[in-house]
């Protein structure tokens, strides 16, 4: 009898314990161990986490690559490609492969989004003080005259040679971090890492799945309370990139709020009903460019884009505090905010 009692008790206790810790088997300890690196570059904080035996080397190589990209793409460093292009007085400038690739993508995305993404907005952005932190609201005449030189279609590129009209200046800020995410993941793979995740100033990009085979859980910030998370989505091998009006903004004495994502149409902060746009996709560069462009285009434009290219997923937050997300992430989306969330209807 006593034997039976113990057998039953053991069975029960086995059930209790097994329910708690069923994961993490089959993967060796070396693969599960992770290394993390902070990188302070591109005016932002980046944290890269890599798994496996090659993590250390891969992280060092990734850091080198980030610093190289910063050297090429910075709009304020006098030795960068972008600086050379912006100070070329209309002559052709030879740029690196990275810069050429991003400029080509910027022109392509400009076309695709009817000019909602425009890398020639830089002089307007400067006028608002978003590049220096010395904010001011420009007067209408100044904006009008600056907008005369804003037109991405006037950027010409042939091979690695970029030519701009004299008064035009570019800034690749809307694409650089996305591209950097892609390049970090490429460096990881080249160095034998198959599981890694990077957080780049609010953007996240993942390589593969977690070493235990599960998906990465990525949080998206609440634009109405940017120090808290709004939702969690599960991803593998994807980029999750957000443009929000909370990222950089200032408030004037009369209580008006102005943010850094400008509408190329009038040079004022884009105010088309969205306060945050998150784009989820395979390519960080595409997602980064799109998050800015769709923020400018507003809800209807974003939904129209989704219809034309369902390979991306979106999370949109409207200024009346509603969340809309695409059907592709319906199963992996968890709303942890007090806001209503619904799937974007595409028909």
């Amino acid at each position: 009898m006593v034997k039976k009692v113990f057998a039953f008790a053991l069975l029960i206790s086995g059930l209790i314990f097994s329910s708690g810790c069923s994961e993490e088997k089959a993967v060796s300890e070396a693969d599960m161990s992770s290394k993390s690196r902070d990188v302070f570059a591109m005016d932002t904080f980046m944290n890269i986490k890599a798994y496996g035996g090659n993590a250390d080397i891969a992280l060092s190589e990734a850091e080198k690559r980030i610093l190289q990209l910063e050297d090429e793409l910075s709009v304020t460093s006098e030795t960068s490609d972008v600086w050379a292009v912006d100070h070329s007085s209309g002559t052709a400038v030879d740029v690196s492969d990275d810069t050429a690739l991003i400029v080509n993508k910027a022109i392509e995305m400009g076309k695709k989004t009817n000019g909602a993404l425009d890398i020639t907005l830089y002089p307007v952005l400067k006028e608002w003080g978003f590049t220096t932190g010395e904010y001011k609201v420009p007067d209408d005449n100044t904006l009008k005259s600056l907008l005369k030189n804003v037109d991405y279609s006037k950027v010409s590129i042939s091979g690695n040679k970029v030519t701009l009209p004299k008064e035009t200046e570019i800034d690749l800020g809307a694409l650089a971090k996305g591209y950097t995410g892609d390049e970090i993941m490429k460096t990881m793979e080249e160095n034998g890492v198959s599981s890694a995740i990077v957080s780049l100033g609010g953007n996240v990009q993942a390589l593969g799945k977690k070493p235990d085979g599960s998906n990465w859980k990525v949080a998206v910030r609440n634009p109405f309370a940017p120090d808290t998370d709004m939702c969690i989505i599960e991803i593998d091998d994807k980029a999750v990139i957000t443009s929000g009006n909370y990222e950089r903004y200032f408030t004037t004495d009369d209580g008006n709020v102005y943010w850094h994502i400008l509408d190329p149409d009038d040079g004022y902060p884009a105010d088309n009903g969205l306060v945050s746009v998150t784009v989820i996709g395979d390519c960080g560069l595409d997602c980064d460019a799109l998050s800015t462009a769709l923020f400018v285009e507003g809800y209807d434009g974003a939904v129209e884009f989704l219809r034309s290219d369902p390979s991306f997923d979106l999370i949109l937050v409207t200024d009346d505090m509603k969340i809309f997300y695409s059907g592709g992430i319906a199963d992996s989306f968890t709303n942890i905010s007090g806001m209503e969330a619904e799937v974007i209807a595409l028909d």
Binding site: M1, V2, K4, V5, F6, F8, A9, I12, S13, I16, F17, G20, R37, D38, F40, D43, T44, F45, N47, G133, S199, A219, R221, D227, T228, D229
Partner: protein, 119 residues
């Protein structure tokens, strides 16, 4: 009730109680009261906020500059700093595992740490 049944109930209850206790102990680190203060990839403090007394201390940046870290009622924040943007102060208290307190100019990061006691 036979002696066997009594014994059985007793054993199950005992094991269940033990399981609950173990589960609670096992869950403790994930409550995330541990934070790390990292300066340019070097962990300079590892603190259990549930144990820390209220205090304020200054962290100097070797290349010039400082941040004043404040611990109050089990919460941590940067209360003052001589960096130009003060983003670290504006971030307020550390709340989310996904959103660390960062001072870019001083390469300082305060975040919840996964590993708990003993590390």
């Amino acid at each position: 009730m036979t002696k066997g049944v009594k014994l059985l109930i007793g054993a199950v209850l005992l094991i269940f109680a033990a399981a609950v206790v173990l589960a609670v102990i096992g869950l403790k680190p994930s409550e995330s009261t541990w934070v790390e203060i990292v300066q340019n990839n070097k962990v300079i403090y590892k603190l259990d906020l549930s144990e820390e007394k209220d205090r304020t201390f200054r962290i100097d940046y070797p290349e010039g500059g400082w941040n004043e870290v404040q611990i109050k009622d089990g919460h941590i924040c940067i209360a003052d700093a001589d960096c130009p943007d003060h983003t670290c102060i504006k971030t307020g208290e550390l709340r989310s595992e996904n959103i660390p307190i960062v001072c870019l100019p001083h390469k300082l990061v305060i975040r919840f740490s996964e590993e708990g006691a003993g590390k």
